[in-house]
Assembly symmetry: C2
Homo-oligomer: 89 residues x 2
């Protein structure tokens, strides 16, 4: 069954408290080369079949339901390549 | 400044209540072609420079801090291609 991956991130201009907390913890543990951390969401939608029309409707779902357009940006809506040889991603 | 993207998903065998809720809502809105939804996290770590050693340490951070190995899987740890021509992703 095909899988569509939707990636959503907080808008760059927005403060990301959770990301700041992780960055702070990394610094305390000596990972000073990490200057900033931002945390978003990754959705995997299993679908029956994939065609352009379906992909269009998922893009709309991503914009309307899976993200809050005021504070988040939909980075990508892509069909996951599940070729048997490679890893799932 | 280079960005490293870490993707974390709940383990497949695990129930994903939030994902089930989204799938249910999509069905109520007529998106019947979506059979399942799983929700994970996407981290963007800004770093000073990128080399193999740093990438190794970020892989360790991903396993130890950015995910809970009991219930989650680190799907990928990749340097974001920020070639000026293309999109950031």
């Amino acid at each position: 069954m095909p899988t569509i991956v939707v990636e959503v991130m907080p808008k760059p201009e927005l403060l990301d408290p959770a990301g700041k907390a992780v960055a702070g913890a990394l610094h305390r543990l000596g990972h000073d080369h990490v200057t900033d951390v931002r945390i978003g969401k990754r959705f995997e939608l299993s679908v029956d079949t994939v065609d352009d029309e379906l992909l269009k409707s998922i893009e709309k779902v991503a914009a309307d339901m899976l993200s809050n357009s005021v504070i988040e940006t939909v980075l990508s809506v892509e069909v996951l390549d599940e070729s048997p040889a490679g890893e799932t991603h």
